[in-house]
Point group: C2
Chain length 343, copies 2
DNA sequence: TCAAGGTGCTAATACGGATTATCACCGGCG
DNA sequence: CGCCGGTGATAATCCGTATTAGCACCTTGA
């Protein structure tokens, strides 16, 4: 059947079929241009040899010559299959894989990208980003130098998550947080809430900033009072205390894990949720938590974002130009943690 | 900074530094053999240009020339990031990724491998397996023709899960099911159980066969009576009925999802688990289930298997020869579904 | 003064496939 | 007979890097 030693090349096929390597390549790529003519019988003979030997073109050589290889890179700043954030990344990857599969592309996970320190970097000593035709970036905190360099080097990529800090427009697919948060605030206002708080960082990366912006705008629009309760370095009990002290009746919590923690704290203090305090969760947990209640909030369309990123990347590779930027709508989730405000 | 148009090549670096492409390559690869000599100042000059331009070698060309590229393929017969079997595959992938990361390898997921029909095949019309240095196979039902062809073509690979049906020895890392099942049977026998049953297919692939073998041997060794209750096309209620009718006091269930279903059926019938019937689970769920009890059974060392597969693959790539075959021990899990037999 | 030996670098080539330019051949027509 | 156009194939080149063989230059020693 197949010689176990060296693998077959077009040259071998050519020799067996009694033609030139060029002819094999032409037949293989099914070239039928006016410029290129292969006699049907020759074509058939070559195809037969290919079939009999089971020859397949070396994708590497192909890539070198063709300058494309139908490989899409996936770069994540954290490990792709971690135990901790698995639940958060999984839907994105699911969408990415689905779409890549439909397009007949393979996925290259840049697991080798660990630099000297702890964190992964896209451009480490021997960066391998260029192995892929283009790549999808995943991870909430994308290094801005990496981003700038990707742009500068003209590497086709699409970021999952909005980015704006690279000194030039970045192609992305993001979640449209602002309107989603606004919708939640509107709903709370409709239920009589007048004192609301944004619990979370509200800054640092684009996504918290977007949520915070949506919150501020909406609170202003409905004429309610909105405060900001930072979480860094505070215990759930302290957060809860702060909320109570400020007379807040609806807390918009950036991170569901924090929302859950606050709810537990409330339970221990004898506070009813949502009777005494409504809790709105702004997204999906990025830390592992056991969520045993139906949090009212919204769903980040993670799977769709993954799919769309790959689609946009494909378009980028096909047509070249442009900087696609899209925000996908978040779907509101009716939970059980929002109730009318105490009168 | 960097010209956005074409990417830099060693030729460009050479031109800028006023040396030959060869020299750039030598400097880049830090060659300091006796055969190769570069003046320190020349080396420094080249390195400076590389630093200033941010040049990185094209991994594709490198692979073509070097015949290796530090890419490990991962082939799965099912989608890698599915919702359904995610929980089953995840630990394997976690181990694979960890190990690849440590070795500085990237992971290529063959998502494009969908053939005409439904199922994935390794060798489809334009197989891309050869892009990677070698590959890891994942999935319970590996196509035996694919396996044979991998062997015939001399493609380095390691299967996760024992395989024996390819007409030649297959390199694998498997779970050592037989002794694990034997240990459970011994334990049940020690608690007075005399009528036991193996609930599952017990055949089809290697892993159920191994479990079944362990069961039969152990039952014979302890002088108990063991029967086989096939599950295909039967409801949990029917299975339970069959077990009761046969006077079975300890059921060894291949698939934890089935174990859970049987327990629910028992609950509805008023049977106590493990009071009236002990349930032993032989592995991890391959179907999504909500497991709300601590099943007595064993843990398949999935993460370790993933790691080990990559390690063995690396050795295979390094040294060439050999057909590594390893079985990793399963750890017994003390649960709450095994109790002394009713007297 | 000239071979010997060492030093520093480069030309040429391989890797496998895609593409461009060209070539040999044959029949028909002036 | 000789030119032309169409047909079927191929030689040559390119993609970007690694490696091998070897060349030019300089010292040193006899």
């Amino acid at each position: 059947m197949i010689s176990p030693g060296r693998r077959l090349t077009q040259q071998d096929i050519a020799r067996i079929a009694g033609v030139s390597q060029t002819t094999v390549s032409l037949v293989l790529n099914n070239r039928t241009d006016a410029e290129v003519r292969i006699a049907p019988e020759t074509r058939e003979r070559v195809l037969r040899v290919i079939r009999e030997t089971g020859y397949v073109a070396d994708p590497v050589a192909r890539r070198l010559a063709e300058r494309r290889n139908r490989i899409l890179g996936v770069f994540t700043y954290e490990a792709v299959f971690p135990t901790a954030s698995a639940d958060f990344y999984h839907p994105f990857l699911l969408g990415i894989e689905e779409c890549a599969e439909e397009m007949g592309c393979d996925l290259l996970l840049f697991t080798s990208a660990r630099a000297a320190g702890e964190r992964r970097r896209i451009f480490n000593e021997d960066s391998r980003v260029r192995l892929a035709d283009g790549c999808v970036l995943l991870g909430r905190a994308v290094d801005r130098d990496d981003l700038a360099r990707l742009l500068a080097e003209g590497i086709p990529f699409v970021s999952i998550g909005r980015r704006d800090d690279a000194g030039a427009p970045v192609p992305y697919v993001g979640a449209d947080y602002s309107p989603a948060v606004r919708a939640l605030v509107d709903r709370a206002a409709g239920l009589g809430h007048r004192r609301m708080a944004y619990v979370g960082t509200g800054a640092g990366a684009e996504s918290p900033a977007d949520r915070m912006r949506g919150f501020r705008e909406a609170v202003a629009a409905v004429g309610a009072r909105g405060s900001h309760v930072p979480v860094i370095g505070r215990t759930p009990e302290e957060l809860l205390g702060e909320l109570s002290a400020a007379g807040v009746t609806a807390a918009f919590v950036e991170e569901p894990a924090d929302a859950v923690a606050i709810m537990h704290a409330a339970g221990e203090r004898g506070l009813a949720i949502p009777g005494d305090l409504s809790i709105l969760a702004l997204g999906a947990p990025t830390r592992p938590v056991r969520v045993d209640v139906d949090l009212t909030g919204f769903r980040i369309p993670r799977r769709e974002m993954g799919r769309r990123a790959v689609e946009l990347l494909a378009e980028l590779l096909e047509n070249g130009g442009g900087t696609p930027q899209e925000l996908l709508a978040c779907e509101l989730v009716e939970g059980s943690t929002l109730a009318p405000a105490r009168s």
